[in-house]
């Protein structure tokens, strides 16, 4: 199992190595994509193989894999695979159009692989200090992706992202320190004192005052990475300015990595100080994020910003679900994490195709998508209905579970408020995306630039469409039937909490 964990991390680095030794962008892209697919296979294998076994421990507590980490590994590996395949087409089209130089394309693949590998590694470690190190490093690697285009606006977004996230993660490190302070009365072996399993096992003996502070700091700190309001301000800029496959990685993988860290702190805090305090914290931040996300979705502008605010909303929903708690709430939160990740990957990847064809990221500049590029237009429409929680897609099921958990756990006011906000989100979001999909396209675009479009070849064109199709199929499956293995993995993860 240790070897498998190693393969998962190393997989995406194939693209990095290929680009670093000087392979042209196309080859580096294919190397990265195949590496990411190997990682995905290994993650599925690990999840299934890990189901009925004790957690994997190794390297003096640095490696720790239980069902929760396996579940998040699967989510991130899936998104990485989709985005890595999508990168091949998007980057080759940008290079062919002269928007990016060959050097920039190679830089992209270098940092893409490092970014993915760091996120996967942060899910595999049991050491809180190392978790900080890896998450902060993944911030830096992804900041390079955000600023890749080198325009003033993308540099500005990258600056905002790196400074806000670094501050946030540093605050999370302060939270980690307070968690250790709270454990200082225990006489654990030094290097075990900072690992999840030991802290969790001794959570009832932790000093409650420091533990409360630690949880609050961790939610604020890692919440900055998750995009919980009011620490979300970097998120729309970074998502809008990054190349589309990188936006998919940010929204669907990075945010979940932060959420994973919060869930770990939550598990310890719940045992240490009781469920009320963490519930209040998560409900406040969660609802605030949903409200802010929905309010900013009303504005019609850059469609990638729209998707980004939708991520803020969904991360809020997951936080609310964690706050509702109970088996239903946690099940809903984890299922929603996976569903949202796939749906957002689909949306950002198809938005990449849109911005390549229309050469704009403004929603009002895009008309008649279904007529110009039926496949992408269809994926965008289906993806947006999926992300808004319409049946028969997976998010309908997970949002239903979360609302049910709310009715079971709290007064009916909170889940009703959540439903109302979801309805507003539906109207705001669908108004923009249906406007993009329908309407009369500009004549020049309607005539079409040829079969391959902006892509230098059929294979590249295929890589731009295929991940969105695969993602939509997965969402449909998850909406109709949750595979037994996955369901068991989620149930096991709840047991871990």
């Amino acid at each position: 199992m240790t070897a498998l964990a190693f393969i998962i991390i190393v997989g995406p680095l194939a693209g990095t190595i290929a680009a670093a030794v000087g392979a042209p962008g196309r080859i580096a892209g294919w190397a990265g994509a195949s590496g990411a697919c190997v990682t995905l296979g290994a993650a599925i294998w690990l999840l299934v193989g890990q189901l009925h076994r004790a957690p994997v421990r190794g390297l003096g507590g640095f490696l720790y894999l239980d069902s929760l980490s396996c579940f998040f590994l699967l989510t991130v590996a899936l998104v990485t695979a989709l985005a890595a395949v999508g990168s091949v087409g998007y980057l080759s089209a940008e290079e062919a159009a002269g928007q990016l130089t060959g050097f920039q394309v190679r830089l992209y693949f270098i940092f893409f692989g490092i970014f993915a590998a760091l996120m996967l590694a942060s899910l595999e470690t049991g050491n809180l200090g190392l978790l900080f190190v890896l998450i902060e490093a993944s911030t830096l690697a992804s900041a390079a992706l955000v600023g890749l285009e080198g325009k003033a606006s993308s540099l500005e977004a990258a600056w905002k992202y790196v400074i806000i996230s670094s501050l946030g993660v540093t605050i999370a490190l302060a939270g980690t320190l307070f968690l250790f302070y709270s454990a200082s009365a225990l006489h654990l072996a030094p290097n075990l004192r900072l690992t999840w399993p030991y802290l969790f096992a001794h959570a009832h003996a932790l000093a409650p005052g420091s533990l409360r502070l630690a949880f609050l700091l961790a939610v604020v700190g890692y919440g900055t990475k998750v995009g919980l309001a009011p620490m979300h301000t970097w998120l729309p800029d970074a998502h809008a300015e990054a190349p589309s496959p990188a936006s998919a990685m940010l929204s669907a993988a990075l945010l979940n990595t932060g959420m994973y860290a919060i869930i770990r702190f939550l598990a310890i805090t719940k045992v240490g100080v009781g469920a009320d305090f963490p519930r209040t914290v998560l409900l406040v931040f969660g609802f605030l994020s949903v409200v802010i996300g929905v309010l900013f979705m009303v504005r019609r502008g850059n469609f990638k910003r729209l998707f980004a605010y939708s991520s803020v909303e969904h991360m809020g929903i997951i936080a609310v679900a964690l706050g509702f708690g109970g088996v239903l709430g946690l099940y809903g939160a984890l299922l929603h994490t996976l569903n949202h990740a796939i749906a957002k990957a689909v949306l950002f990847l198809s938005s990449g195709d849109v911005s390549l064809r229309y050469r704009t990221r403004e929603a009002l500049g895009v008309r008649g998508l279904l007529a110009v590029v039926p496949l992408t237009g269809g994926a965008l429409m289906l993806g947006s209905f999926a992300v808004l929680g319409s049946p028969p897609f997976g998010l309908f099921l997970s949002e239903l579970t979360i609302v049910r958990a709310g009715f079971a756990a709290a007064s009916p006011v909170l889940p009703l408020l959540l439903l109302l906000l979801l309805a507003v989100a539906f109207i705001a979001f669908a108004r923009t995306t249906t406007g993009m999909a329908t309407g009369e396209p500009e004549p020049a675009l309607a005539a079409g630039p040829g079969k391959a479009g902006p892509y230098p070849g059929r294979a590249a064109r295929l890589t731009a469409i295929a991940p969105a199709a695969v993602g939509l199929a997965a969402l449909l499956v998850l909406g109709l039937w949750i595979p037994a293995g996955l369901s068991a993995a989620i149930t096991h993860s709840i047991g871990v909490l």
């Binding site: 640095f62 500005e156 905002k160 030094p190 005052g209």
Partner: protein, 224 residues
């Protein structure tokens, strides 16, 4: 571990360095010149490396000695020199005009934050067994002051220095935990800071080249 009680020589030295680090954070908050920001940050890092050396001596930990030397070399010397050469001199930065509050206001708020830090993390509230518990409120206060500097200063270089001060505050808190922080983690935190500063240097100089002035109020293109 006993050697770090508040009355021992090492304990007193550690507390003193903590106080000095806090004062230097205040000095940075109260100045307006880019040169001074960097100078105060450098001085703060040197005191920090002294504190790490004291802890290293008290714990007889060779790993902490390495960290003390690395702090001195990287945070105390390399980063200030690089900031001066690559940012302040090349971009010809002198006086920071992009402050959102007056200096006296930010100093008063800083005083309030320090009191707050003490209120929340005073030694009596901490669980027993925390080594050098008096340093904890000091480090919390330094974290808050650094964050305050990032909020009231809108110039990118000033914000970068603010983040570095926050980082120093966390590091000060971490020294009291040496017995539990494995070396790999400390070294990783260090690497992150170095890589972070490098990447921020790239962004700041790129932005400045494109905007002529990288002060945050001019970063208006993205909003909403």
């Amino acid at each position: 571990m006993q050697s770090l009680s508040a009355t021992s020589m090492a304990g007193i030295l550690l507390d003193l360095s903590g106080v000095l680090i806090l004062l230097l954070a205040f000095a940075c908050l109260g100045s307006k010149l880019f040169n001074r920001y960097v100078a105060y940050y450098g001085a703060q890092s040197i005191v920090l490396s002294f504190a790490a050396a004291v802890a290293a001596y008290a714990f007889a930990s060779p790993e902490l000695w390495i960290l003390a030397v690395a702090t001195l070399a990287i945070k105390g010397i390399a980063i200030p020199v690089a900031a001066r050469r690559l940012l302040i001199r090349r971009l010809d930065l002198k006086r920071d005009a992009a402050l959102s509050t007056g200096l006296s206001t930010s100093l008063i708020v800083g005083g309030g934050l320090t009191a707050f830090a003490y209120l929340v993390t005073r030694p009596q509230l901490l669980p027993h067994g925390v080594v050098a518990a008096a340093v904890v409120p000091l480090s919390t206060a330094v974290i808050l002051l650094g964050a305050l500097a990032m909020v009231v200063r809108r110039h990118t270089v000033a914000q970068l220095i603010g983040w570095l001060i926050v980082e120093n505050g966390v590091f000060l808190g971490a020294i009291t935990l040496v017995a539990t922080f494995p070396f790999i983690v400390e070294a990783g935190i260090f690497l992150d800071i170095v890589a972070g500063v490098l990447i921020m240097l790239v962004f700041v100089s790129g932005l400045t080249r494109q905007l002529a002035s990288a002060s945050a109020p001019e970063l208006r293109e993205l909003h909403g």
